[in-house]
Symmetry: C2
Subunit: 409 residues, 2 copies
């Protein structure tokens, strides 16, 4: 008799965004003619860059002719894309990454969900609190979470790294206490989703040092690096020693509006070794077995981001989103809100008003201002009392959202 993976039964029923979607549905059913402003899910709104569109049309045409038609591509990405990544995302920042250390994929969510395949089930996982839910849920499915406590919202086997106002939403490196367990897999995401916090060289170097000391692997999600404007690391590999202790996950979703196109990549240095085995080789085997490469047209689209025109266009789009972030950040601050993020990330993280809980504030904004955001507590207990707004709406929507919130007094 076949049995199911029993870890799935441990997952609490209501997924954050599903609950939000239900509440929106209920509200719009009651108020069918009202216009909601949606600054909840981090989805982009500005269309693809002209350079990307042109590259896609050209690639589609190639697929229409026998002499230029492409069937199965290389498992880990076409040369033209991998080389562009190495040149622009790494070499330009002083980091040497080799060709066979880059793995192109259909996105960061797939990679961050699947990367656990190559690690032992027994590894102890550390996550930030609040945190992007995929790191948690995928490890629950893999049996690394232990038991869920509905009272606290915490899993018994995870090590939580609180990200609070007091530490600037940057998790502190744990103190090593002899006899106490240390984490084996540490998930870090900077610039951060949901808090919008960005990490500095020194703070990130402290994490690299810690991981090397306790022999942990850092799973570094840099999906939002394109939004950095200050002098901060875009890649964990800018930190000396990181190649021996980190895996980096990258995405074109927010960089180039690819949420509906699906492309990202993972970098694992050949210097990341455990018991004489290159971690890179396991991921290569995993991907060659359980994945079949990325759409050719999509890879051409991604490569177009690295052309001179593509770069300029992408920069302009990011600039528009960051203008929204500035509008929201400055506007909400003026209204007396305590606001974080939005300077090197497209997320605004604010304290709710008058001691409301995150969900109370969600309902308040939905019903009183018809603005949709994301309750901070949905990302973890330390997110309670906070609220996330994204800069991915239009400028008009961002301005109107602010106006509506202002009217609440």
């Amino acid at each position: 008799m076949f049995e199911l993976n029993e870890n799935f039964q441990k997952l609490p029923g209501n997924y954050l965004f599903a609950t939000i979607a239900r509440k929106i549905k209920e509200y719009t059913a009651e108020h069918p003619d009202h216009h909601l402003i949606r600054l909840g899910i981090g989805d982009v709104t500005i269309p693809l860059a002209p350079a990307v569109i042109e590259a896609m049309h050209t690639a589609v045409d190639e697929m229409s002719r026998a002499e230029s038609f492409r069937g199965y591509g290389p498992d880990y990405g076409y040369d033209f894309l991998v080389n562009a990544i190495i040149e622009n995302d790494y070499k330009a920042r002083g980091v040497d990454i080799e060709f066979d250390e880059v793995f192109v994929s259909d996105g960061c969510k797939s990679d961050s969900g699947n990367i656990g395949d190559i690690f032992a089930e027994s590894n102890l996982v550390a996550v930030c609190d609040p945190v992007y839910p995929v790191y948690v849920d995928s490890n629950v499915m893999a049996g690394r979470a232990g038991e869920y406590d509905p009272a606290t919202g915490l899993w018994s086997n995870f090590i939580y790294l609180p990200c609070l106002k007091e530490n600037g939403f940057i998790p502190q490196v744990p103190t090593i206490v002899p006899g106490e367990k240390t984490p084996d897999m540490i998930y870090l995401c900077f610039p951060n989703n949901p808090s919008g916090a960005a990490i500095g060289y020194k703070e990130l170097a402290a994490w690299v040092d810690y991981a090397r000391t306790v022999d942990a692997v850092i799973l570094f999600d840099a999906a939002y690096e394109a939004f950095i404007s200050d002098d901060l690391p875009h890649s964990i590999f800018e930190i000396p020693g990181a190649k021996t202790c980190a895996i980096e996950l990258r995405s074109f979703s927010k960089t180039a509006g690819f949420t509906g196109v699906r492309c990202g990549y993972t970098v694992i240095s050949k210097e990341l070794i455990r018991n004489g085995i290159r971690v890179r080789d396991l991921w290569a085997r995993r991907q060659a077995t359980k994945f079949n490469g990325v759409n050719y047209i999509t890879q051409r689209a991604a490569a177009a981001i690295y052309t001179p025109e593509g770069k300029t266009q992408i920069r302009a789009t990011i600039g528009r989103y960051m203008e929204n972030a500035k509008i929201l950040r400055e506007g909400l601050t003026k209204l007396g809100y305590e606001v974080f993020g939005g300077e090197n990330a497209p997320y605004i993280w604010l304290k709710t008003r008058a001691g409301m809980s995150s969900w109370e504030f969600f309902d308040y904004l939905l019903h009183q201002a018809e603005v949709v955001g994301t309750p901070g507590s949905g990302f973890g207990p330390c997110g309670e009392g906070y609220f996330r707004l994204t800069a991915f709406g239009t400028k008009e929507a961002s301005l109107e959202a602010l106006e509506r919130i202002a009217k609440l007094g």
Copy 2:
């Protein structure tokens, strides 16, 4: 200290197609001006259908304008594609599939590799011999395989279902012996890769009956159903009772030349239940957590296959491949080879000449005829002495391959 998934270390080093690639590379280095005919890897050569190309251009243009731009899509596929699948692939064959039983993905390889996530590690796996390597390798990674015996090429914990000339390459349903273990997860692929064998209603019904009797789940890979010309089941769900014991995997790769486009889907009926839990719900959760939907343009491309023009064009392409299959099948038979498959599948499965082993025959054809195929033994011990050729080349290549083989005498 983090540890790796130790199951990966059990995988034998040389992957079938990697070895073939190496041998080809060596040969072409020695004979740079010779022209090899490649009928090895099952990759398509005919460009995408005009209806598909048109749909892609239109979708690319939609992505260039704010009013029609698409960000994150539905996790399990857009309505327009899911409905087309239900209508054309199921309803047209008398099978009722509901909207939330279809999961669009980036291809059958991903789905067949990832589906194991939702099952217990303790399940006993049955695979055909010979077999598509992904079923085996993904279960090795998940810890269901036991130990590999290099002498036999078999894994200690798998139940092997021999597919031989004697049973028409259709695995026989095991006899149930009290006290003997029965399989929990049964991988079946029809029309078959590599043997090209197709299964009839009666034989497939016997497997459904067996699975229901022993409470096993059948993972039915129907990636090649479009190549069926005889009166045979295209879907396992054409068999009464299959909804309670089977999962079906489908692909557009060979149907519509999508090997470089990446799209497929998986169907799990809500009637497939274990201990009160719908298996469908687990896959839904797995995909929502570790996958982020398929490229919008790709989904438009896939939907175009179901338009009247698309259907006609796809039929014509499949007809051309099956003409190649006929050329190879009839030609090789005339040359005295014992040939199987190629009637309801794009694969030709032949006995090697003069008692050669599969790899001896591979080297013989490579060096003497400059034709590349796939050694049957690469798919499992029962494939020894067999050889696979694909019908996915051009007609000219198929004819010339035949001519070159004829010259060998």
